[in-house]
C-alpha cells in the first residue's frame, strides 16, 4: 500500500498542474463576469504554440510561445464576447471547436500524418533539496518541473490580489454589478478584456506545461477536455484561488486514482473514478444553492 501512495500523490500533482493553470485563468475571467467555455481552445493552442516555439528555440521560448498562442485565442473570444457583446456560451463553444480544429489541421500540415514520433525537449524535474525527501508527499510537491513551482507563487499572489487590492476589487465589481462598476468609473469592457487575456495566458501555460513538461509531444486533441474540467474546478473551488487549487488537486487525484486502484487490485471500473469529479461538481453546485458563490453577472451579455 505505502509503495503505491507516493506515486499516487505524484501523479495527482502532475495531473493537477495544467488544470490548475487553466482553472486559475478561468477564475479571473469568471470573477469579471465572463464564462469562458473557449478555454479548451486556449489550452490546445498553448500546447501547439509551445511545441512549435520549443522546436524552434528551446523550452524557455516554448513556454513563451504557449502563452502568446493562448492569449491570441483568448483575444478572439474577447473580441466577440466583450466588444461585440455576443453570447458567452455560443462563442465559447465555437472558440473551443476552432482551437481543436485549427491545431489539428496545422499539425497535419506542419508535421504530416507521421508526426506521432515527434518529440520536443522537455523541462526536467527540479527536486528541491530536503523538501523533496519528505515521505509520501515530498516527491509529489517538490520533485516536479519548475513550472509547477510557479503555481505555488501564483496561487497566494492571486488570492491576495483578488481580495486586497483595488484592481482586484474592480475586477470583482465588474463581475458582480457591472453597472455599478461603470458608475464608479471602471470600464467593464477594459477589465474583461484584461481578465480574458490573463485567462488566455494561463490557459496557454497549462497547454504548454502539458507538452513541454509532461508529455513531450503533441497529438490532436491533446487538451482532451481539460478546458471543461477547469470550468468544473472553478465551480468546485467556489470561485476562490485557494479553493480552485484544492479542486484541481481533487480532479488530479481522481484521474490518478485509476492507476492506484489498479495497483491495489481494487475491482472498481476506472470510468467511475474519472466520472466522480464531474458528479462531485454537480453536487457542489447544488449545494452552493441559488448560485450563492458565483459572480452575480456571470454569463450576462454586455
Amino acid at each position: 500500500m505505502t509503495d503505491a501512495i507516493a506515486p499516487f500523490f505524484e501523479a495527482t500533482v502532475r495531473t493537477a498542474t495544467p488544470l490548475a493553470f487553466a482553472a486559475l485563468g478561468e477564475l479571473v475571467a469568471e470573477r469579471a463576469g465572463v464564462i469562458n467555455i473557449g478555454l479548451e481552445g486556449t489550452i490546445i493552442a498553448g500546447a501547439f504554440g509551445g511545441l512549435v516555439a520549443a522546436g524552434a528555440a528551446g523550452v524557455g521560448v516554448g513556454f513563451l510561445g504557449a502563452v502568446v498562442a493562448g492569449m491570441f485565442v483568448a483575444a478572439i473570444f474577447a473580441f466577440f464576447v466583450v466588444t461585440l457583446r455576443a453570447d458567452h456560451i455560443i462563442t465559447g463553444t465555437a472558440i473551443s471547436m476552432l482551437g481543436v480544429g485549427a491545431t489539428g489541421t496545422l499539425y497535419r500540415i506542419f508535421f504530416g500524418t507521421t508526426g506521432a514520433a515527434l518529440e520536443t525537449p522537455t523541462l526536467a524535474p527540479l527536486p528541491i533539496p530536503l523538501l523533496h525527501s519528505i515521505p509520501w508527499i515530498g516527491e509529489a510537491l517538490f520533485g516536479q518541473p519548475p513550472i509547477t513551482y510557479l503555481l505555488y507563487v501564483i496561487v497566494p499572489c492571486l488570492a491576495w490580489w483578488l481580495r486586497r487590492t483595488g484592481a482586484g476589487l474592480a475586477l470583482r465589481a465588474v463581475g458582480e454589478r457591472p453597472e455599478a462598476a461603470s458608475a464608479a468609473g471602471i470600464s467593464p469592457a477594459r477589465v474583461r478584456w484584461a481578465a480574458l487575456l490573463f485567462c488566455g495566458a494561463m490557459g496557454g501555460l497549462g497547454g504548454g506545461t502539458l507538452v513541454l513538461a509532461q508529455v513531450g509531444t503533441f497529438n490532436e486533441g491533446i487538451s482532451a477536455g481539460r478546458g471543461f474540467i477547469a470550468i468544473a474546478i472553478v465551480v468546485l473551488g467556489r470561485w476562490s484561488a485557494v479553493g480552485v487549487s484544492g479542486a484541481a488537486l481533487l480532479f488530479g487525484a481522481a484521474s490518478a486514482l485509476q492507476y492506484f486502484a489498479q495497483a491495489m487490485g481494487w475491482g472498481i471500473p476506472y470510468q467511475f473514478a474519472l466520472a466522480l469529479p464531474y458528479v462531485l461538481t454537480l453536487i457542489a453546485l447544488a449545494g452552493a444553492g441559488e448560485r450563492a458563490a458565483a459572480p452575480a453577472a456571470l454569463g450576462a451579455r454586455g
Partner: protein, 348 residues
C-alpha cells in the same frame, strides 16, 4: 413607413449570411489544401464525389451524416429558443444510444424490439436532460455547467458499458456485439444506407415548426425564451415549469438521435459513437437561426461538409480536422452578422 432603399437593403442583408458562410467554407478549404501542398482540383473533386457527386454519395453519405445532425440541431434549436442553454445534446445523445443498445441486445420485445429500444432512447435522453433541468429548477444551477458535466459523465458511462456489461462476448474489443437484424431500422431506399431515422427527423422538424407556431406550449416556450420576466408578468407563464419542459423535450429529441444512430447506422455501441455531433449541432441550429424547418437545410449542409471532407481525406490526404474550423467560423460569422444587424438598435 418603409422606403424603397430600406427594403432593398433588407433583402441584401438576408442574402449575406449564406454568401459569407459559403465564402468562409471555400476559403478555409482552399487555405488548407494550398498550405498542405495538396492538388486543388483533385481535392475538390474528392469533396464533390463524397458529398453530392453521385446518388450514393448523397443518399448514403451526406444524408446519413445529416440525420443525427438534424435531430440534434432540432434539440438545440428547441432549447435555445426557449432560453435553455442546453449544450448537453452530446450527453443526451449518448444516454439515448446506450439505452437503445442495452435493449436491442437484451432481445426484449422479440421482432418488435425497435418499438422498445427507440422509445427507451427517447426516455433516456429526456431523463439525462431532466437531471440538469431539475438542478436548475430546484437549486438554480446554471445548465451550461451542469449539461457540460453530464456530457463527460455520459462519455464515461458509455466507456464503462462497452468495456463492462455490454461488451461483445469475446471481451476483446471495447464495443457491443452487432445488433440482430430485428433491431435495425428499415432503410428508406433499397441499395442505399439512408434509414428511417431521416424520415423521423423531417417529420419532427415539421412538428416542431407547427408547435412553435400554433400551439399554446410553443407560445409559452417562445415567451420564456424571449424574456423570462416579461413572460411571467405579462403572459401568466410559470417560467420554471416551462423551462423544465424545454429541457425534457430537447433531451428527448437528442436521446432519439442516439437511439436512431445505433439502430440505423452503427448497429452497435462503441466509445467514439459520436464524433462531437452534439457540439456540431450547435452550429447547425445557429446557422438555421433556431428555425426548425431551416435546420433541415443546415443539417444537409453540415452533413455534406463532413461527408465531403471525409472523402477529401481518403482520396487526397487533406486533413479532416479543418471541418471543426469551418463549423466554428460559421458560428462566429452568424454572431458577427447578428451584431452588424443589431447595430443602431437601442440595447436594453
Amino acid at each position: 413607413m418603409t422606403t424603397h432603399t430600406e427594403r432593398r437593403s433588407h433583402s441584401w442583408r438576408q442574402l449575406l449570411p449564406p454568401v459569407v458562410v459559403a465564402a468562409a467554407v471555400v476559403g478555409v478549404i482552399v487555405l488548407v489544401i494550398v498550405a498542405g501542398h495538396h492538388d486543388i482540383a483533385q481535392s475538390f473533386q474528392a469533396f464533390w464525389r463524397g458529398s453530392f457527386g453521385s446518388a450514393y454519395a448523397f443518399w448514403s453519405a451526406t444524408l446519413v451524416r445529416a440525420t443525427p445532425l438534424t435531430l440534434l440541431g432540432l434539440a438545440v434549436a428547441l432549447a435555445f429558443r426557449s432560453g435553455v442553454m442546453n449544450i448537453g445534446a452530446e450527453g443526451q445523445f449518448l444516454a439515448g444510444a446506450s439505452a437503445a443498445s442495452a435493449l436491442a441486445l437484451s432481445g426484449i420485445g422479440g421482432t418488435l424490439v425497435l418499438w422498445v429500444a427507440v422509445p427507451a432512447a427517447i426516455l433516456a435522453g429526456a431523463l439525462w436532460a431532466a437531471i440538469a433541468g431539475w438542478l436548475r429548477r430546484r437549486f438554480g444551477v446554471l445548465e451550461v455547467i451542469s449539461t457540460l458535466m453530464l456530457n463527460f459523465v455520459a462519455q464515461y458511462l458509455v466507456s464503462y458499458l462497452v468495456r463492462g456489461p455490454l461488451q461483445e462476448p469475446t471481451h476483446v474489443y471495447p464495443q457491443t456485439e452487432t445488433f440482430s437484424t430485428s433491431a435495425h431500422l428499415p432503410l428508406l431506399i433499397s441499395g442505399q444506407r439512408l434509414h428511417f431515422g431521416y424520415a423521423i427527423a423531417l417529420v419532427l422538424a415539421l412538428a416542431l415548426w407547427w408547435m412553435f407556431r400554433s400551439t399554446a406550449l410553443g407560445f409559452r416556450l417562445r415567451a420564456v425564451g424571449a424574456g423570462p420576466a416579461a413572460a411571467a408578468s405579462a403572459g401568466h407563464v410559470v417560467v420554471p415549469r416551462v423551462m423544465f419542459t424545454a429541457f425534457l423535450l430537447s433531451g428527448a429529441i437528442a436521446g432519439l438521435a442516439g437511439g436512431v444512430e445505433v439502430t440505423g447506422v452503427t448497429y452497435a455501441l462503441y466509445e467514439g459513437i459520436s464524433p462531437g455531433f452534439g457540439y456540431t449541432a450547435i452550429a447547425v441550429a445557429l446557422l438555421a437561426r433556431l428555425h426548425p424547418l431551416a435546420v433541415i437545410g443546415t443539417g444537409i449542409f453540415f452533413g455534406a461538409l463532413e461527408a465531403g471532407a471525409a472523402a477529401m481525406q481518403r482520396d487526397a490526404g487533406v486533413p479532416f480536422q479543418f471541418v471543426a474550423v469551418v463549423e466554428a467560423l460559421v458560428v462566429l460569422g452568424v454572431i458577427a452578422l447578428e451584431w452588424s444587424r443589431s447595430r443602431g438598435e437601442v440595447r436594453p
